[in-house]
Symmetry: D2
Subunit: 414 residues, 4 copies
């Protein structure tokens, strides 16, 4: 039940500065809801737009918190009595509920009049000084004051009532400049991401849609091969796209215990073995196919093994850096892409891990409606996918080895 | 003169999926203009929104190109005759003007009826196959076909007339997920960025506003110290924020020819000198201040020298990693921040280079109205600034050493 | 028991090209051992060096594998009969045990004579073609052949006997160029790293030495705060260095459930709350200290709470970007560094997580003998620590949130 | 003339801890030279090694500076009188020539006896306090003191005479851990790198060897296409390896003025044109080959144009992400790699720019003797090349657009 409501207003270039989008987003993210009362989109690029939105919240505290948050993006409360203040009681300590400033131009309503704040700085407080014989004709002054400069007796604005900000403008500097956004920050709680991806994959599976895994060799190097194999075995992968490297290192890890010659499970396996991957490729070539190598018992575990066992289709696309390659690799890249196209029917979600080449290849082929998660430790890979047109993918910057380990745990149990 | 016009429509969650913002942005970026004819914002988060926009372009070719581009983001032409087709004349080669697909669900108007395209894949062509005794009751089929599969005689859709797409939805997976955007991609033409930043700084100076430089030590390590000094000398820096490291290495480079012991100009200076920065700090401490060291001739060039000579105010904020530090460093960080606040009056633009700590410190203090450019080779720094609330800064991911060299060239001549 | 042995030789600039170091390293990493029989270091930089090393291995297979591996780095077997060959039996499949090439100039002993291989390419096979009426005077030819070009009947060198390579040279291009090494690659098995760090920390604790944790705020943003608190509670942290940000977000996460306003545990906490960190700082300032806030019950969990409860000393160093700051922060950076110095006595290991500023500050203060692990998702941070002189630290490029979660699990149980 | 000389000693695990290699490297980098007098390599991995090296320098100052530098890596002067001291004359200012500490265990010779320094911290000074009635039997105490704590009258060690350090040990934690080194730091002076690469390419050309360019599409996106075309035209590229993307965007930039739809030269070209690359591919397919498209005047500039005009051979290797592709692309990756092999004869230097896939492909094929420069803004690419076995490549982390611009300027003039 959303029982508390209030009307907010936002004005300016609220469409192209993304202000309105951000405001609506925050409302929903806070567990609140909105009704648009009045939206007037400027007729031309020069005209400002205006929107009045009724915000509903489950309780007064949530509403107050949300209203304060909306200020950061330039949305003001339509109703405004005067601002309320409370005195500082200890030097350097603000009264509880103090209004926390944004970096936008700000006005405070006092005695029914709007007083401009003297300067703009975020994360400060507003101190109101009483009217005196001042050049501004008797208006109180409102100063932007950092916490450590608050002195006993200062009157500080509390709550967001009676405070208005000017919405920020998006400057149009040139066609290449973009405003910074933290889309692919690594500083996010990855445990939550694991839970959310697991939840989405469960939903996709329960919707009878198929799950595509696009896998790069770093998954094996980082020790996630076993976890991924469990996910295949338990039915969380319906189709696999990868290259010669991933399939080779996955089998190398299972046959020889190394990945690109480096041991992946610790213990007694010596480092070295720069030719290990070649020996594995050579033996699989001798068997004629990965399926034949599995059938003959040469490969006894891992992602490729589980795919063969469960009949999960895989497309291994060739690349100019391939050693060997494995007999299953499509050495003609056009045939490889066509094979990938043919395998996409019914795919409802794609999990792309630690691959640049195959990530972009898959991104090129996927409909926008396929839910896509791109996991890589390198933000540039995630960014590049977006650059190539896959705007609907969700990026997660983290260590794929640890991430897939926790995802397998969430989906398959320990 | 924008003489050509056409009406486009967009429908769906066009606000919160950022579709409308992107559409308006593309129109202006293409040198075209718009009038909003009819915008109906959904009352609630469940209701779709609709917008009809009249687009004006300087010539038919630009208009056609723009209309095709708008399709990528889900905006369709309101007027629609049937789609036009042209035959393939060489296997694997499409007719000129072929319609290039998006990854959105697509329909083609044929004989006045909308025919759904069989699958979604971007960067392909649409091939129309004639009506036959088909299960779909006689509608032509429209197939999404990659270029290499086009065969002689195939009828391919040309132009965007008679093609509609469904606007993509923004999925709400969870509060932390963000859609990927390539805001801080390193794969942008940096020469243009140099010209644009130079242009903006010229504008700010001609507006009588002041320019703030926030500088990290990598500027000196990468050899940009001399270029930056020229910029100070020629009046392109009105106030400098930095730390002990930048000021020390700038003077070390000028007194001893090294930066953190590494020679910065090539030639005869031997590598080594791990203690060089300490020796410079020690001597400046002996003089009592940077200004005194300049006056005494100990420091004869560089950024700090030019600041002293021209009276450019600088604030050196201390940090726990500082050696020495220099006598001018504010070792109390609260005093340092207060000194920075005091120096910001009149600042209209900020150029932040190769600094994380001081970038965030400055970002905390700057009003949103100050034009801010953040230059770093590490996308994470740029992202972090946005995470901390400085959404209005523009990020440039490049090598600061080379970038500042070219910027100095653009502003000061060679 | 190392029962198998063989003598290897290496010649060239084996010291400054790091060849000898790498060879000895590989021997030990393979579980083998060595005795140096004869080492002749060139008198000058122009003179080549030579070393003869007796390698001992536990079994013939390990020895053979190691000898093959040493070839990559230019170490040849001293004893050499002729090379052995085996025929290709299937097109594109090499005989088992084929010699895998390096990218070094290579010779093969045939009929007691050294025959040069026609070209250098790594990861290929050597095919011997019989003597004919050839211009080279009757020597067999040896060709470097990629696997896919091997034809039935080709005689392929197997094993490393009778194969010699020329050690690579390290070119001296200039003082700044460095050879690439993959020291801080993110493509390593992180599960093993967790186990190894846990093992080292156990050892340090059993040696009665103290463990230093240097913590950045991303630890909290990535959701690792609870895991870290467990580590403190269970006695795995003896001293903590951090800044205002870490301590604030740790308490914010426990008091308000967010970190920089972003919920860190999922569930019902709404996003937003850009001022949450300020409110927490303000209340702790009201209490007068973190310890007082803990005593008063305002802070009831988290890293700072556990430090107060267990009497773990902490040093919070101030920085110019600090909001507030917390009353426990040393706002004077010289005092902060002195407090850090005073707290280092008895420290035997340092775990540095997700911090640049405090990582470098701690790195400046730590003796080389303190075992130091630097964990960050950004390779540049790890590189920077080395640039500043902390050459003895071990770098781990991974997601700190997931890494610390698994480390806490390894040390404290689930 | 190297007229000054002195003998230094180093002891410990100087081979596998890379100490000896670093010491010899520093000597040469400082413009000095060495003769090894006595090198005793430990017989086994447990035994320490010892080396005595005579260092020659051009002048006493260089020698003194070098000797101080060698201390950081554990090399001590063999001759040692007592340490010399000088008094502090101003609080917080050290006497000129003060000995700057390392983070190694340190002893100071006083009255012919070695006194241990009380603690280890780098970048500090050593203060000698006179003998008193002390528990250590009358030895003076030597304290490690940061600059700011030096007090008037303190006796501070000056010069490195009479100071010994203990060489650091390399700990063997596990097979995957590596010590951090700043091989691929972005914080280097790139202007010097440009000059050095230009110098090497001139040398290779004057040696009649061929220069290979491996090019990724970001070269075009970052605006370096024109500079690269100049380099081809002026004869600085003898063979080109690239993919469909590079060749397409190079021609797109010249035919349509965009790269992946983004304008690369500024000015009037509108942004957009997501299908531009497809249209260019389509037209080149219509012509039948890049050479035919150049001959027909469709492509009138750029890298591919200059290659065709000058007869520079190029190999375009296909990949699964390719649109089209261009008719010249080898769609079979094995054929592509074979074509690359065939084109490598006589190559003496390779310049790899902004490519991961083709960088690794070329790295796989190149002999170790080919001088290889790998330029990328992403340190991970450079690291990955080393991981794949190309240890001899030199990595430069910078913005390829700006770097190639300056390289073209250095080689071809402005």
């Amino acid at each position: 039940m959303l029982v508390e409501s209030e009307v907010v207003e936002v004005e300016g270039h609220i469409i192209d500065s993304l202000i309105l989008a951000k405001v609506l987003d925050l409302i929903l993210a806070a567990g609140c809801d909105y009704r648009s009362l009045d939206v007037d989109i400027g007729r031309t690029a020069r005209d400002p737009s205006r929107a009045r939105i009724e915000v509903s919240a489950p309780d007064p505290a949530t509403l107050a918190r949300l209203l304060a948050e909306l200020h950061v993006h330039g949305a003001n409360r339509a109703a405004h009595g005067d601002a309320q203040t409370a005195p500082v009681e200890v030097d350097g300590v603000l009264p509880a509920g103090f209004y926390s400033t944004t970096n936008l131009a700000t006005w405070v309503s006092l005695d029914g009049r709007w007083c401009a704040v003297d300067r703009e700085e975020m994360d400060c407080a507003l101190v109101v000084r009483p009217t005196g014989a001042l050049p501004n004709g008797g208006l109180p002054t409102v100063s932007n004051v950092p916490m450590h400069r608050a002195h006993v007796g200062d009157q500080v604005v509390v709550g967001s009532q009676g405070v208005r900000v000017k919405a920020p403008e998006r400057r149009r500097v040139g066609p290449h400049f973009e405003f910074m956004d933290s889309d692919v920050s690594s500083e996010k709680p990855k445990g939550l991401f694991v839970a959310q991806v697991a939840e989405r994959l469960r939903q996709v599976r329960s919707d009878q849609a198929r799950i595509l895994l696009v896998a790069g060799p770093a998954l094996v190097h980082t020790g996630a091969g076993g976890d991924l194999a469990r996910m295949v075995r338990d039915g969380w992968v319906d189709v696999l796209f990868a290259g010669n490297g991933f399939a080779t290192h996955d089998m190398e890890a299972n046959v020889l215990g190394t990945s690109l010659g480096v041991p992946v499970r610790g213990g007694a396996v010596p480092e070295g073995g720069h030719a290990n991957h070649l020996r594995v490729i050579n033996e699989v070539r001798r068997h004629g196919s990965i399926a034949a190598a599995v059938a003959a018992g040469y490969v006894g575990g891992g992602v490729m093994y589980e795919c063969v066992r469960r009949g999960v289709p895989f497309v291994l696309g060739g690349s100019v850096r391939d050693d060997g390659p494995l007999p299953d690799v499509h050495t003609d890249v056009i045939e490889a892409a066509d094979a990938m196209r043919a395998a996409l029917a019914g795919v409802g979600a794609a999990l792309i891990c630690a691959s640049t080449l195959h990530a972009i290849a898959a991104g090129n082929l996927l409909p926008a409606s396929v839910e896509t998660f791109c996991v890589d430790i390198n933000p540039a890979v995630v960014t590049k996918l977006a650059d190539r047109g896959s705007h609907q993918a969700l990026g997660i910057v983290t260590d794929v080895g640890l991430f897939v380990g926790e995802l397998a745990h969430a989906l398959c149990g320990s």
